[in-house]
């Protein structure tokens, strides 16, 4: 094989290799397709009377640390409230009793996220100490919507 042919082959190989590296970079570093998808985790649901601007893929946090994300939002025709399904990382165990979920806003005008406040883990004897697949978080607090607050304020001022 001539040296020119060899040079061409090597450079084409390097070129394709760089392309693959670029693809991996775009996946891992840019889109952050990270461990949440490898680690299946478990899904829990919560019913909210008003989810405000919550969207699919919004983060779910405990004490401000991201532990999962919202995977599905649907309207329940019977109760007319929103059922939010979220995927949580399985390495974080959350005491089930009294656990509550709130919809908060990042900053004044930021996007919405869910904050879970874990319950107290006082008796270890119960069969169901931690959140697990298919659970529903009973206590929820709806999103605080700025327009409603202003409306209430104006209403009170008029009185």
């Amino acid at each position: 094989m001539s040296t020119r042919q060899r040079y061409i082959d090597v450079s084409v190989g390097l070129f394709m290799l760089l392309g693959m590296l670029a693809f991996v970079f775009m996946i891992m570093k840019v889109s952050g397709l990270s461990s949440y998808h490898q680690d299946k985790g478990y899904q829990v649901t919560a019913d909210f009377t008003d989810i405000g601007g919550l969207k699919v893929r919004a983060p779910v946090t405990i004490a401000g640390v991201k532990v999962g994300e919202v995977t599905r939002i649907e309207l329940q025709p019977q109760q007319l409230n929103a059922k939010v399904t979220m995927q949580l990382r399985s390495d974080k165990r959350i005491p089930y009793d009294d656990a509550s979920a709130r919809i908060l806003t990042q900053g004044l005008l930021g996007s919405n996220y869910i904050s879970i406040v874990p319950g107290l883990e006082d008796d270890n004897d119960t069969k169901h100490p931690f959140l697990r697949e298919g659970d529903t978080i009973a206590k929820t607090q709806e999103a605080i919507i700025l327009e409603n607050l202003i409306g209430q304020l104006l209403f009170n001022i008029k009185k």
Partner: protein
């Protein structure tokens, strides 16, 4: 007056005819039994011609475009106190739009014109005719490997473009203007979705590759076999493929954003 109308009619018929014959040409190139043993060395050489030789211009322009977007974006975002969102701005604009489109335009200028000129010269010096004479199909031996090489090379180049442009923006934003590196990447990762943003960029670049190579190869194969004809065909390749890329980009974006 009637002459002018007749001229317009003739132009219209000619345009339609050339579109039709380029479609037939595409069918002839693609619906064939590929000769893999002969295809492989030719494909490697064409990948070198089309891909590796376009590498440098893609990398350099990507770096500068990323740096400019970083600088402009930072200056505007800073007015709203959102300078840390630069990563998001960069990654979205580059992976969705600038990466596929600009690399396709550069590719049309660098590789498309070269393909047209090469095939046109082969036609002018009657190499294609003599191949035909010897019972070697020029579509299979000359056109097909170039077509495949272009379709493989442009998406790869577009990916490299995106990465280099994001690094150019990172260089300006983080190293020069002093945005925190962690918030640069985390804002980017929070905003960019693999399927919606990156995959649609890759699909775009595959479509553009197909389009640019098709135009380039067809113009070369169909040119008037004179020095002037080759120069006109080369110009047409660059003009047509730039227009087609920009126009189709709008259509693709509309399809992707409009839920598809």
């Amino acid at each position: 007056m009637l002459d002018k109308i007749a001229y317009i009619g003739q132009r219209g018929i000619n345009t339609l005819q050339s579109i039709g014959s380029s479609g037939v040409f595409l069918l002839h190139v693609f619906f064939r039994k590929p000769d893999f043993i002969r295809l492989w060395p030719a494909l490697r050489f064409q990948l070198y011609n089309v891909g590796v030789l376009s590498f440098l211009i893609i990398v350099v322009s990507a770096l500068f475009i990323g740096m400019v977007v970083g600088l402009q974006g930072y200056n505007t975002l800073q007015k709203f106190g959102a300078g840390t969102q630069l990563g998001q701005l960069l990654a979205l604009s580059i992976s969705r739009e600038l990466g596929p489109v600009i690399s396709a335009l550069l590719f049309a200028g660098r590789a498309g014109s070269a393909l047209t000129a090469e095939i046109g010269l082969m036609k002018a010096t009657e190499q294609l005719a003599s191949m035909d004479m010897m019972g070697v199909d020029p579509l299979g031996r000359v056109i097909y490997p170039r077509f495949l090489a272009g379709i493989i090379a442009l998406p790869v180049l577009a990916l490299i473009f995106s990465v280099m442009a994001i690094y150019g923006g990172y260089f300006v934003g983080v190293d020069w203007l002093g945005i925190d590196s962690g918030s640069f990447w985390s804002n980017m990762q929070a905003a960019v979705d693999f399927r919606i943003d990156i995959l649609s960029g890759i699909i775009k670049s595959i479509v553009f590759a197909f389009l640019v190579v098709w135009i380039a190869v067809f113009q070369g194969f169909n040119c008037v076999a004179t020095a002037e004809g080759i120069s006109q065909a080369t110009t047409r390749t660059v003009v047509y493929s730039s227009l087609a890329v920009l126009g189709l980009d709008f259509l693709l974006t509309a399809m992707m954003i409009g839920g598809w």
